[in-house]
């Protein structure tokens, strides 16, 4: 077995173990709260997989998480930690809903395409800002993306409440007007909410996999993430590549928002949905590999889709799913750490060149990148 193959098998096993560990700890919390964990998980699985509607719901929940997880993964491949998915997502969702709610007498497919483009541009722009700031000023993307999240919420709230005179928004419902029927992503399966956005997300995931591993741009993104110095030495413009990767990540998150607004809900409302943080977990569990992200998005979609059934049939309140998602992140990080300790690595991978695919661990490994030297205190 090659070094690379054994290390990716190790990562898959690590992710699976992490999920199992998180479910076990979740089971303990459920048991301590006086419920039967087995009953709770059974109700959850039943709700998410036991019916045609449940399976459709799993996919509906998985779609934005898939695109959001990709938004995390693409940035991470370039060595950037994208906590700004939430902001990029709402910018995209809002932009798409604005276009979708505007009555321009356009044919449906044209209107939908325009709305998706608007989402890609708005999200991409919001993602490019932290990339650009990092490239030009060295400002840490974790701080700038957090600030941009809140600025996105504030901007959208402002536009909804104060600019209803020239935008199709409604301060009464704290959201945009309803998206025109023709501009909605069509429902694909009768009596479910399964919409075209789910298919789009899957196609985009495969496309991103191709871009990352089989195109020059993808090669540049991965090289920059592996080693900034080596990339520059090889003639790759670091700043440009980082900005591009963040713009691409933002565009993906924006598309996720569009799926929610012109697909699922038919409008964008001002309350932040919180998807952007779960998306980070999806990216981490998927090891920043688009194919891995597909599976982890399905898993997280399943958890979300089954939560209402768990609450209704086993009496365990649905918020436990958030706890489990957080535990998954901790567990992935812990397994990553264990893997780094040499005594464990000795048994699992050849000693010569550990962790063949290092970029997929960005976001897991401790930061070693040099920072600007501070002045004396």
């Amino acid at each position: 077995m090659t070094n690379r193959a054994s290390s990716s098998i190790l990562m898959v096993v690590g992710s699976i173990l992490a999920v199992i560990a998180a479910l076990l700890v979740g089971a303990i919390v459920i048991a301590v709260s006086g419920h039967d964990p087995w009953e709770a998980y059974r109700a959850l699985a039943e709700g998410a997989l036991g019916s045609r509607r449940g399976r459709a719901e799993t996919l509906v929940y998985a779609a934005p998480l898939l695109l959001g997880g990709l938004a995390f993964a693409v940035a991470a491949r370039a060595g950037m930690f994208n906590i700004g998915i939430e902001g990029q997502l709402v910018m995209g969702g809002f932009a798409a809903a604005l276009i979708g709610a505007s009555d321009w007498n356009l044919p449906g497919p044209v209107h939908i395409t325009l709305a998706l483009l608007a989402a890609i541009l708005a999200g991409g722009f919001w993602g490019a800002i932290p990339g650009f700031l990092r490239a030009v000023t060295g400002a840490h993307e974790v701080i700038t993306t957090i600030m941009l999240n809140y600025l996105a919420f504030r901007l959208i709230t402002y536009l909804i409440q104060k600019r209803s005179d020239w935008l199709p928004v409604d301060p009464q419902v704290q959201g945009t007007n309803r998206v025109l029927d023709d501009a909605r992503l069509p429902v694909l399966l009768e009596r479910t909410r399964l919409h075209l956005g789910v298919v789009i997300a899957l196609i985009v995931a495969l496309l991103i996999w191709f871009v990352l591993f089989h195109t020059v741009v993808g090669y540049k993104i991965r090289t920059v993430g592996l080693s900034r110095g080596a990339a520059s030495y090889g003639g790759i413009n670091w700043g440009l590549t980082v900005t591009l990767a963040m713009a691409l990540a933002g565009a993906l998150a924006g598309l996720a928002g569009a799926g929610e607004s012109i697909g699922l809900h038919g409008r964008h409302s001002a309350s932040p949905p919180g998807l952007g943080f779960t998306a980070i977990a999806v990216g981490l569990v998927g090891r920043n590999n688009p194919i891995g992200v597909i599976f982890s998005a399905l898993l997280f979609g399943l958890l979300s889709a089954g939560a209402p059934s768990m609450q209704a049939n086993a009496g365990v309140s649905r918020e436990i799913v958030l706890v489990i998602q957080g535990l998954v992140i901790l567990a992935v990080a812990a397994f990553e750490a264990i893997n780094r300790f040499s005594w464990f690595r000795k048994f699992t991978s050849p000693p010569a060149s550990p962790g063949g695919d290092r970029a997929s661990q960005v976001g897991m490994a401790p930061e070693v990148e040099p920072r600007p030297t501070p002045p004396a205190l």
């Binding site: 000023t137 600030m147 309140s317 901790l330 992935v332 976001g363 897991m364 401790p366 600007p372």
Partner: protein, 294 residues
């Protein structure tokens, strides 16, 4: 207009700044010791929840406060285990803590009070004088203490050494691991006190997600204040003032500054600050680094 800048505005500013000051002092200790703490938000939320739960169980807010701070300190301990002992990524661990805090507090609210939105009313900590809660005084008294601790005490200097240059600190016999653990656990407890102010100081109940991003604003204040206690406290006052003015501006027709701009001010200023346009913005050199390579 003349009676706009009143005593009421001043007390509102102090009230808005208090939870930020607590959390910012916590974030400052953690960052100065070299551990990024974006889990401040979750730790505040845990503090807000458990101080109400503690008050509910014991009947006394004076017991609720340490229970809330203790629970948040446990969250800090988790952060420390993942960041220091396991050498995991600090942002990843912080993100996980925020998710778990949001889920766990909602889950427990449902479990304890049997309703989704928030807790029942409990008694709250007393006011010191004229509408100012006792915790407001504690918060601002904390600032010079943290300043003296960091810059004038042996332990404080060791903490900063652990943050500036962990390997050098270790080579002169400073126990970097111990200092980082202490700083991160303390940052949890302080963030918890900030949360407790929201739930049993300012109000007398817990509501879901009642911290509403204040942990992130506190983090912004640390950065905007140049990783310095006095600077961070000044930033908290500035951000608190922008919130207080905004609330009053909404009630004042014809107020010249847009209230939307005022709410966005902390985020905008911090964004500009980290790009280095306002001032030198340099984090501790060892932030995110580990003591010795495996």
């Amino acid at each position: 207009m003349s009676d706009f800048f009143t005593l009421a505005l001043l007390t509102a500013t102090l009230r808005m700044a208090t939870p930020l000051v607590f959390a910012a002092m916590g974030g400052l200790l953690s960052e100065r010791a070299g551990v990024m703490n974006i889990g401040l938000e979750g730790m505040m939320l845990i503090g807000a929840f458990f101080s109400v739960a503690g008050t509910w169980w014991t009947g006394s807010p004076w017991l609720g406060l340490p229970i809330g701070m203790g629970a948040a300190a446990v969250a800090g301990l988790v952060h420390a285990v993942w960041c220091v002992t396991l050498r995991g990524n600090q942002i990843v661990a912080g993100t996980a803590i925020n998710l778990i805090a949001a889920g766990l507090t909602a889950f427990l609210t449902q479990l304890i009070w049997g309703r989704a939105g928030g807790s029942e009313t409990v008694s709250r900590l007393p006011n010191a004088f004229s509408g100012l809660n006792i915790l407001v005084i504690f918060a601002f008294a904390l600032v010079p203490l943290v300043h003296v601790f960091l810059f004038r005490s042996r332990r404080g200097l060791h903490t900063m050494a652990a943050g500036e240059s962990p390997q050098a600190a270790e080579s002169v016999g400073i126990n970097v691991t111990a200092y980082r653990y202490a700083a991160v656990v303390a940052s949890g407890a302080l963030a918890g006190a900030g949360g407790a102010f929201l739930s049993i100081g300012n109000l007398s109940y817990f509501t879901l997600d009642m911290t509403a991003g204040r942990g992130f604003i506190a983090l912004a204040a640390v950065i905007f204040g140049g990783w310095n206690p006095l600077g961070a406290a000044a930033a908290c006052l500035l951000f608190g003032a922008s919130q207080a003015v905004q609330i009053q501006a909404q009630a004042t027709p014809g107020f010249p500054i847009s209230s939307d701009l005022l709410v966005a001010l902390p985020y905008l200023l911090t964004l500009v600050a980290v790009t280095g346009l306002i001032r030198n913005s340099n984090p501790p050199a060892g932030l995110g680094k580990h003591a010795s390579a495996h």
